[in-house]
C-alpha cells in the first residue's frame, strides 16, 4: 500500500520504496498505543505499551538497515517522492525522502540508539512512574517517544530544507512534551526549575533558533528558487557571496538553538528535568545533533563562505570550553553530563565549521553511543539509589530499616546528587563497568571510540584554525577531568548515604542495552579508523570528495591529547580519589583551591540570571506595560472611552445646556415659563381621545385641501 502511495522513483532496485516506513512505523506504533489504550484502558498493560513502541522503532531500524543495504549498490543515493505538499507558483515543496549515505547514517544512529533506549526505558519507566505516583503515564511516555522517533526520521530523511525544518520543529515539540513529562511537579530540588518551565524554556529557545532557520530558508528560496538540497547546492555559485554568508549565519542561529551552542544553550541543562531515557535519546544522542547534521548537509553552502565557517568553528570551540568549565563544578550527576553534551556538541559544530564534515559526523555517531550509555548509566545509578531509599513492594522487604526515615529526610532526598553517592562500584558492578567504558570513551583514551573521533577533529583543527585547536584541546583536558571526577565521586570511595550503601542493581532489561552500548563505545572507533577511513569513503558519496577528505592521522595530536587526558584523570584522582570524601556535606576539594572561579563555574557563570535580567524580565515588563498601560489604560480607556466617548457626550451636553442654564440664564427663565405654557397648550390636544386625534387629522386634510384649491 505504501509503495503505491509513492508517486515516483527512478527504477534503481533495492528497498528504497520502503523508506517512508521509517516515519510511518513509529507513527503506527503511537497510534496503536493511543487507540488500543483508549479501548482497553487498564487492561492495556505496560508490556503491551512498551512492546508496541519497541517493535515500531525496531521496525524503523530494520528499514534503515535495508536502506543501508540498498545503498551498497547505489552509492549516489536516491530521492523517493512521497506526496506533494506545498505548491504555489514557483514554490514547490514535495514531501520527498532523501536516501543517501549521510541520511542513512543518521537513520541508523537514530533508530539503533533509539531502539536500545526504548528497551531500557521499558524497564526504567516502570520504576519511574511509580516513584512519581502516576503509573498511567507509562503509555503516554512511549507515545511521545515514538512520536519523537518519527519526527527525527522526518528530519534526517527530508530532501529539502523545509522538510528538514518540519522534523526540526517536530522534535522540538517532542522535546517540550518529554521535558514536561512530569508536568505537575513544582520547582524541584534536583533541577531548581519546574518541569513545565524547563519545557517552555526549551521550546522558546529553540524557537529563537528556528527564527534564524526560517530566515535562512527565505533567503535561500529567493536566491535559488528552490529549497531542495541538490538544487540549492547547484546554484551556490550563482548566489551573491553576501547572501550565502547571510544564509549560513542565520542557519548558524538555528544550529545554536537546536544543538545547544552559545548563546542559546541554556535550555539543555534544564531539559534534564525530563526522564533520564529522554535525556539520553533526545538531549544527548539524537535531537541535539540535528544542528551538526544540518551543517554537514549544507556543506557546499558553508564551504562557499570562509567567514561563516570561522564563525561556526569559533562558536563550537568556545561552547566546548565554556560548557566544560561548568561541567567541572556541578554536583548533579545528570547536570555534569548535560554540560558535557553541550561541550561535545561544540566539538562537532567546530568540526563541521572547519570543513571537517566527516570528523563531525564521526564524532556525532560515537558520541551518540557513549553519551547515551552515560545517560542511561546515570539513570541506572539514580534508580539504584531511589530503589534503595524507598523500595517498591515488588522489590521485597530486605530494606525495611529504611522505613524509619522521617518525612523530613525523605523530603531532602535527591537521588541525582553525586555528593551522597560514593562506593557504588561494589553495589552495582554492571552499571559501574559500562559507565566506566562510557567515561573513558568520552575522556578520549585510546582505543575507545571517543579517542578516534575526537582526535580526528583535533587534527583537523590544527590545520584549519589554531585558536579553535587550543580551545578544543583545553576542553578535552577538562572533559577527561570532570569525567574522572564524576566516576570517582560516584563509584569509588565509600558510600556517603544510606541509600548509596544499599543501592540496587537494575534489572536486565536495562543493563543489556547498556552493555550493547558499551560494546559500541569500545568498537565504534572502527567506523573510521585512521588509514581505513570507512566512514569517510561512505560519506564521500554524498558530500563529494571536496568535503569528505580523509584526515591524516597526526601522531603528535594523538599523543598530546592522550597525555593530556591521562594527566587530567590523574589530577582528578589526586583531588577526589586519593582521599575520598566521607561526608555528603563535605566541601569539594576544588572549591578551596579555586575560590571565586569555582563559584562562577558552579553557578554556570550566571548566564541564566543574566538572561533573566536582560531579556525575560524586560520582556515581561514590556508586555505588561503594553497590555495594561498602552493598550488598556491609554488606548482603550482613555482615547476611546474618555476622549472619544466622553468627548462626544460632552459635546452633546455643551450644545444642550446653554438652552437650559448657563449662558442665557435670564432668558432661560422666561423661556421656561413659555415652554410650560406651550406645553399646556399642546397637552390640551393630547387628550387621549381618539376622536380628537381624528379631528386633528381631518382639520389637516381640510387645511391642506384648502391650500391646494385656493392657493396652489
Amino acid at each position: 500500500m505504501l509503495a503505491a502511495m509513492i508517486s515516483s522513483i527512478e527504477e534503481v532496485g533495492g528497498f528504497f520504496t520502503s523508506v517512508p516506513l521509517i516515519v510511518f512505523l513509529p507513527l503506527a506504533g503511537l497510534l496503536l498505543n493511543i487507540i488500543l489504550g483508549a479501548i482497553f484502558k487498564d487492561r492495556w498493560g505496560e508490556r503491551a505499551s512498551s512492546g508496541i513502541a519497541i517493535a515500531a522503532v525496531l521496525g524503523a531500524f530494520v528499514v534503515s538497515v535495508l536502506q543501508w543495504l540498498s545503498l551498497q549498490g547505489h552509492h549516489e543515493g536516491v530521492t523517493v517522492m512521497f506526496k506533494e505538499w506545498i505548491q504555489i507558483g514557483d514554490l514547490d515543496i514535495p514531501w520527498e525522502f532523501r536516501v543517501d549515505t549521510l541520511s542513512v547514517t543518521m537513520m541508523l544512529v537514530v533508530s539503533g540508539v533509539g531502539t536500545l533506549i526504548h528497551i531500557y526505558a521499558a524497564g526504567y519507566m516502570h520504576y519511574d512512574v511509580r516513584y512519581k505516583e502516576d503509573p498511567a503515564s507509562y503509555r503516554r511516555f512511549f507515545i511521545y517517544l515514538n512520536l519523537f522517533i518519527a519526527m527525527m526520521m522526518v528530519l534526517v530523511s527530508g530532501n529539502s530544507y523545509l522538510m528538514l525544518f518540519v522534523g526540526w520543529e517536530g522534535v522540538g515539540l517532542c522535546s517540550f512534551l518529554l521535558i514536561g513529562f512530569w508536568y505537575s511537579r513544582n520547582p524541584d530540588a534536583s533541577t531548581g526549575i519546574g518541569n513545565s518551565f524547563a519545557a517552555k524554556k526549551a521550546f522558546v529557545a529553540n524557537r529563537v533558533g528556528d527564527f534564524g532557520f526560517l530566515i535562512a530558508m527565505f533567503l535561500t528560496f529567493w536566491a535559488t528558487g528552490t529549497l531542495s538540497f541538490a538544487d540549492v547546492f547547484e546554484h551556490v555559485d550563482a548566489i551573491a557571496p553576501g547572501i550565502v554568508l547571510a544564509i549560513t549565519l542565520f542557519m548558524l542561529l538555528g544550529v545554536t538553538g537546536k544543538s545547544a551552542q552559545l548563546p542559546l544553550y541554556v535550555w539543555l541543562p534544564d531539559a534534564m528535568a525530563g526522564p533520564t531515557p529522554v535525556s539520553a535519546l533526545i538531549h544527548a544522542a539524537t535531537m541535539v545533533t540535528a544542528g551538526v547534521y544540518l551543517v554537514a548537509r549544507s556543506a557546499p553552502l558553508f564551504a562557499a563562505v570562509p567567514e561563516a565557517q570561522t564563525a561556526v568553528a569559533l562558536v563550537g570551540g568556545i561552547t566546548a570550553l565554556f560548557a566544560a568549565t561548568i561541567a567541572v563544578a556541578q554536583s548533579d550527576i545528570k547536570k555534569v553530563l548535560a554540560y558535557s553534551t553541550i561541550s561535545q556538541l561544540g566539538f562537532m559544530v567546530a568540526a563541521v565549521g572547519m570543513g571537517a564534515f566527516v570528523a563531525g559526523m564521526f564524532h556525532l555517531v560515537t558520541h551518540a553511543f557513549f553519551k547515551a550509555l552515560l545517560f542511561l548509566g546515570s539513570g541506572a545509578v539514580i534508580l539504584a539509589l531511589e530503589r534503595a531509599h524507598h523500595p517498591l513492594e515488588e522489590d521485597g522487604h530486605e530494606h525495611d530499616h529504611h522505613d524509619d526515615h522521617g518525612q523530613a529526610a525523605e523530603h531532602h532526598f535527591d537521588p541525582q546528587d553525586m555528593r551522597i553517592m560514593g562506593g557504588l562500584r561494589k553495589q552495582i558492578p554492571t552499571t559501574y563497568w559500562v559507565y566506566l567504558v562510557g567515561a573513558v570513551a568520552l575522556a578520549g583514551l585510546p582505543p575507545l571510540a571517543g579517542f578516534f573521533s575526537k582526535d580526528e577533529i583535533l587534527a583537523d583543527a590544527l590545520h584549519a584554525n589554531p585558536l579553535v585547536y587550543a580551545l578544543l584541546t583545553a576542553a578535552a583536558f577538562l572533559t577527561a577531568f570532570y569525567m574522572g571526577r564524576q566516576v570517582l565521586l560516584v563509584f569509588f570511595g565509600q558510600a556517603r548515604s544510606e541509600a548509596a550503601a544499599h543501592a540496587v542493581e537494575s534489572p536486565r532489561v536495562m543493563t543489556i542495552p547498556l552493555m550493547v552500548l558499551a560494546g559500541l563505545s569500545i568498537f565504534g572507533g572502527a567506523l573510521n579508523l585512521p588509514g581505513l577511513h570507512g566512514l569517510t569513503h561512505w560519506l564521500e558519496y554524498t558530500l563529494g570528495h571536496e568535503f569528505a577528505h580523509a584526515t591524516e592521522f597526526n601522531i603528535t595530536v594523538a599523543l598530546t591529547s592522550t597525555l593530556l587526558a591521562l594527566a587530567a584523570i590523574y589530577l582528578a584522582w589526586l583531588l577526589y580519589g586519593r582521599q575520598p570524601a566521607t561526608d555528603a556535606k563535605a566541601q569539594d576539594p576544588l572549591q578551596a583551591r579555586l575560590g571565586g572561579l569555582w563559584r562562577a563555574m558552579q553557578n554556570k557563570w550566571w548566564v541564566d540570571e543574566i538572561y533573566e535580567a536582560l531579556i525575560i524580565q524586560p520582556y515581561r515588563r514590556l508586555a505588561a506595560f503594553f497590555a495594561e498601560t498602552v493598550d488598556w489604560r491609554f488606548w482603550h480607556d482613555w482615547v476611546h472611552d474618555s476622549l472619544t466617548g466622553r468627548g462626544f457626550r460632552g459635546l452633546a451636553r455643551f450644545l444642550a445646556n446653554p438652552v437650559d442654564q448657563g449662558v442665557i440664564d435670564g432668558i432661560a427663565n422666561g423661556l421656561a415659563s413659555g415652554t410650560v405654557g406651550l406645553s399646556k397648550v399642546f397637552s390640551f390636544f393630547q387628550t387621549g381621545f381618539v376622536r380628537n386625534y381624528a379631528l386633528m387629522v381631518f382639520l389637516g386634510v381640510v387645511a391642506m385641501l384648502g391650500y391646494l384649491v385656493f392657493f396652489a
Binding site: N692, L695, F698, V702, L705, G706, V709, F710
Partner: protein
C-alpha cells in the same frame, strides 16, 4: 331632464339618505342596514359607469361579506345600543364646521376646474368587462395582486393571533 339624470338623482338621493341614516341611527344594526343600502346604490352607480365587475365585487364583498361580518360582530357583542352618545362637547360643532368647509372646498373645485364638466360617454361594448379586467390584473398588476394575497394571509394570521391571545387571557383569569 334625461332618464340618465333622473336615475342618477334618485339614486344619489337614496345614497345620501342612506348615509345620513347610518350616521344618525341610534341602533348599530340599523346603521349597518343603511350602509348596505348605500353600498347597493353605489353598486348601481358602478354599473352605470360601465364597471360591471367592480359592481359585482361591491355587492359580493362589501354588501355581502363585509357587512355581514359587521352584523355578526354587532350581534356577538350585543352592541346594538351601546351607551349614550352624550354630548360631544366642543368636538361636534367643530366637526360639522370642518365638514362644511370640506364640502365648500369640493364645490369650489368642481365649479372652478373646467375639466370636470366633461360628459361621461356611453361605454363601448368591450370596455371593462371582466375579461379585460382580468387581463390587466394578471399581466400589468401581477405583483400587486400577489402582494394583496400575502396581505390577506397576514390579516388572517393577525385575526387568529388576536383571538388566540384573548383565549389565553381568559384561561389565566380562571
Amino acid at each position: 331632464m334625461t332618464p340618465d339624470l333622473l336615475i342618477f338623482f334618485s339614486l344619489a338621493t337614496v345614497a345620501v339618505a342612506a348615509a345620513i341614516g347610518m350616521l344618525l341611527s341610534r341602533n348599530a344594526v340599523y346603521s349597518a342596514l343603511f350602509l348596505i343600502l348605500n353600498f347597493a346604490t353605489v353598486a348601481v352607480f358602478f354599473l352605470m359607469l360601465g364597471a360591471p365587475f367592480i359592481a359585482m365585487a361591491q355587492v359580493a364583498v362589501y354588501a355581502g361579506a363585509i357587512m355581514v361580518l359587521f352584523l355578526f360582530v354587532i350581534m356577538l357583542l350585543g352592541a346594538e345600543e351601546l351607551g349614550s352618545e352624550g354630548k360631544g362637547g366642543w368636538q361636534r360643532p367643530v366637526a360639522v364646521f370642518l365638514a362644511l368647509a370640506l364640502l365648500a372646498e369640493s364645490a369650489y373645485l368642481i365649479f372652478q376646474r373646467g375639466d370636470l364638466v366633461s360628459m361621461i360617454q356611453p361605454a363601448e361594448s368591450g370596455y371593462a368587462n371582466p375579461q379585460a379586467i382580468g387581463e390587466v390584473l394578471f399581466s400589468e398588476f401581477l405583483l400587486p395582486f400577489e402582494v394583496t394575497s400575502v396581505l390577506l394571509l397576514a390579516a388572517m394570521v393577525g385575526v387568529i393571533v388576536l383571538t388566540k391571545e384573548q383565549k389565553k387571557k381568559g384561561k389565566d383569569a380562571k
